[in-house]
Symmetry: C2
Subunit: 476 residues, 2 copies
């Protein structure tokens, strides 16, 4: 009854939902740019007000040393299980702005797609659950399960403050399962549940020689060039077979059984499909693995960017003084981000040409995460996908990293359902990011089904909730 | 008498000269940035008005398809030789602006130095000759020689339009010798004359894979990274001995006699001196040659800059779509810039990894140039240096390129005296460029002496000037 009412509410409020999502997308809540700090905060407060307005309770903007956590609950389903809904309201920078057909923070609907930075990653997907909760609360004044919403503002920079917050507030955050929509599905008609996430580690190199920029006429041919040195270092990070050349890098990489690899081959995308999604003509990387395997059960080291010397318009005959390189590792079980950071530093020290100094920074470690495909919470999600999208989901490994998944497992002892509504061509992290609006609406219905299914799947809650807690009880 | 009057005028007008130079330096006449086009033009007109005001005649701002040429003459020294004074009023960009202690286009005197972009390269040095001419014309109403001033606005971008202009106006530009101050001297008390210039060629690479920026989680490990490809290409441009790896690159490089190399060792800077000037701890480059030789009689390939992917503040987990590399060759006799461009293109095509496309641009070819150390015009300059700076000049090869030197030789059949007043620590082409003011004033006096000495050294003019020509007679 409640379910039917909620579905009905969702179907009759579609255009309202889209307008609200556009409002949410208008905040340039870029967590990686210090100048956007105020926008991030404004976005958090907007979201909190919105959660309040749809009927969630104990809505709070919890301060951290970084960006705030937006928290809200509905705990009136006595003796029912509790589901954590996680999402992130921070986004990546819009740069390079010039490559957007419409500005990144001026959400624009074209055909069936809504274009904006964060449309798919993750404001749009987060909103699927928010609108599902609204549909229940507005149509039936009750949810089938207890709900704790945790919406953070630092996912794109490694969830620096959320992870310790979870560790310090295990009791207050107790739940039976978590659900996150921040991944993708292979095609509009084919839902997917992700059961593995790669971990990560970010790094920056600053390659510098003593002194200023020099005239390339006066000194060209006699002084080592830090841009050249940086390129030589980078050329030394992979071998000709696409393997990372850092000694010891593969030592702890788990070998998967033939059975698991066969399952992946059956369920996962083909090389052709991945190349089409990437708009690439050919694959690259570690021999002996499919592209799907290379991006999921094998680690990777990616150059995210480089800059040095004069690269703007015009010409400038200089020997640069400095080059900066940004990199990111994607790590797999059982690699330890901290150990990888150490090996990386040692390798860089070994391959740095004499005459330049290299400063190495490593940061934002994320542990790889695995979810049991057979857990009742995952089965409930599979059922919900079938209801929402008309097809059973495929179970996929994901190449990206959602730092919190591992924290939910380690600190709260609960599995996370990764139920993604993004599409391969959504261009997340790139110019012209979009969210497919039919997926938005199906995502909402799937979430409505999921909350209902979770109520019976997680029949025996792990714990009984204590009476409502006060804000001051958070350990910050 | 005229000489004495001119010297006296120069000595009593020093502070006026500095103020005027500051006015000249305030124009951001950056030839390599299209957005500065108007500033370049304004600077040309300011210079023309200034030349008019000091008594030069037939002052013209000659339009080209690029930046205008400022031209002025004084042709009243009947039966005397004619000297071309060349200089350039265009400058390099001020970027990176943040590294300047005072803004690049707000000229500032600190101690004995005047800081501004273009202070030494080349507005300050060009102005030495302008102020010498003014001193004669104001103090004595006559110059000891005929003078043709050619001040261009495209030296920093390869003199694209001046070179064909000279070729097309050989008759109108006839002269007996040219003088250029756009080089440097080893120390404030040690003047220098340059008798060789390296040639040059600029290049740009755009390394691109099909498609957009990609999420490094989703695709990291499976798709070739154009930043990495660019770095691999760059790492393939030099061998481990610092030699350029382009096949055939050294084929036409002239071998110099032991005598010439011994002369260079005696007259030129030591490795230590060059390293001190570069603020470097150690040298780099082609084995078997001193650093002075590596920067003068040996060619070089310099990475001027690189950019690709996300390199701004913050992090962004992307596989970039594109990387841009800027390079410049310095070439020596008897290398042909055109042939080098062809060899470069072929080499890049050979070493480009499959999966990316590289677009190669080569432009701004400059021929290497040599000047006979024993030519009377050069001897006159040596005498003038002795008078202006109190010491005989050393004869040096220069690692840079002034494109017009070769054009004067080939098109007009005249030698160019390269009499430089810059200092090794002037940081030309770099942040905090400066001109040492004592060198400015000594440079003016040296030019006054030179014009007088040239009158007798070049006793027999190569030609007799035809009557004054009209503007429309230029072949544009």
């Amino acid at each position: 009854m409640n379910l039917k009412g909620a579905l009905n509410y969702a179907r009759t409020h579609r255009s309202k939902f889209v307008s609200e999502l556009k409002e949410f997308l208008r905040f340039p809540s870029v967590s990686s740019q210090p100048q956007r700090r105020v926008d991030v905060k404004k976005c958090a407060h907007w979201l909190a007000r919105h959660l309040q307005s749809i009927g969630l309770e104990r809505v709070q903007v919890i301060p951290t040393r970084g960006n705030p956590i937006v928290y809200a609950t509905w705990m009136r389903a006595a003796n029912r299980p509790t589901v954590i809904i996680y999402g992130h309201y921070d986004v990546l920078p819009g740069e390079p702005i010039a490559e957007w057909r419409t500005p990144p923070f001026a959400p624009t609907v074209k055909g069936l797609d809504l274009y904006a930075r964060g449309a798919a990653d993750d404001k749009g997907q987060l909103f699927c659950h928010v609108k599902a909760v609204e549909s229940y609360l507005q149509a039936a004044h009750a949810l089938p399960v207890n709900v704790k919403c945790i919406f953070e503002g630092e996912e794109e920079i490694g969830s620096t403050h959320l992870l310790p917050f979870i560790k310090r507030n295990k009791r207050a955050l107790r739940a039976d399962a978590a659900v996150i929509s921040d991944t993708k599905m292979p095609a509009p008609g084919q839902p997917a549940i992700s059961y593995a996430q790669r971990g990560g580690l970010r790094a920056e190199l600053e390659v510098r020689r003593p002194g200023h920029e020099l005239h390339s006429g006066t000194f060209g041919g006699a002084i080592l060039n830090p841009v050249q040195a940086a390129c030589e270092i980078i050329a030394n990070l992979h071998d000709e077979n696409g393997r990372v050349k850092i000694p010891g890098f593969y030592n702890d990489v788990r070998d998967w059984s033939e059975k698991e690899r066969a399952y992946m081959a059956r369920s996962g995308p083909s090389d052709d499909k991945i190349l089409r999604d990437a708009e690439a003509r050919r694959g690259w990387g570690e021999r002996g693995y499919t592209l799907y395997e290379r991006t999921t059960i094998r680690p990777a080291l990616t150059l995210n960017g480089i800059a040095g010397g004069h690269y703007g318009p015009g010409v400038k005959g200089v020997i640069p003084a400095c080059a900066v390189v940004k990199l990111s590792f994607r790590l797999v079980p059982d690699q330890d981000p901290e150990r990888i950071g150490k090996l990386f530093r040692e390798h860089i020290a070994r391959i740095t040409p004499p005459g330049v100094d290299v400063q190495v920074k490593v940061f934002s470690p994320i542990e790889p995460a695995l979810v049991d495909r057979k857990h009742p919470a995952v089965r409930a999600a599979a059922f919900a996908c079938k209801k929402g999208f008309g097809a059973f989901p495929v179970f996929l490994r994901s190449g990206g990293s959602i730092p919190v998944v591992n924290a939910f497992k380690e600190s709260l002892g609960i599995p996370t359902v990764l139920m993604g509504f993004g599409l391969p061509d959504d261009r997340i992290h790139a110019p012209n990011e979009k969210f497919h609006l039919p997926n938005f609406h199906r995502g909402i219905e799937t979430s409505i089904w999921y909350l209902s299914a979770a109520a019976s799947a997680l029949r025996r809650p792990n714990f009984l909730e204590s009476p409502a807690r006060k804000d001051k009880e958070w350990v910050l």
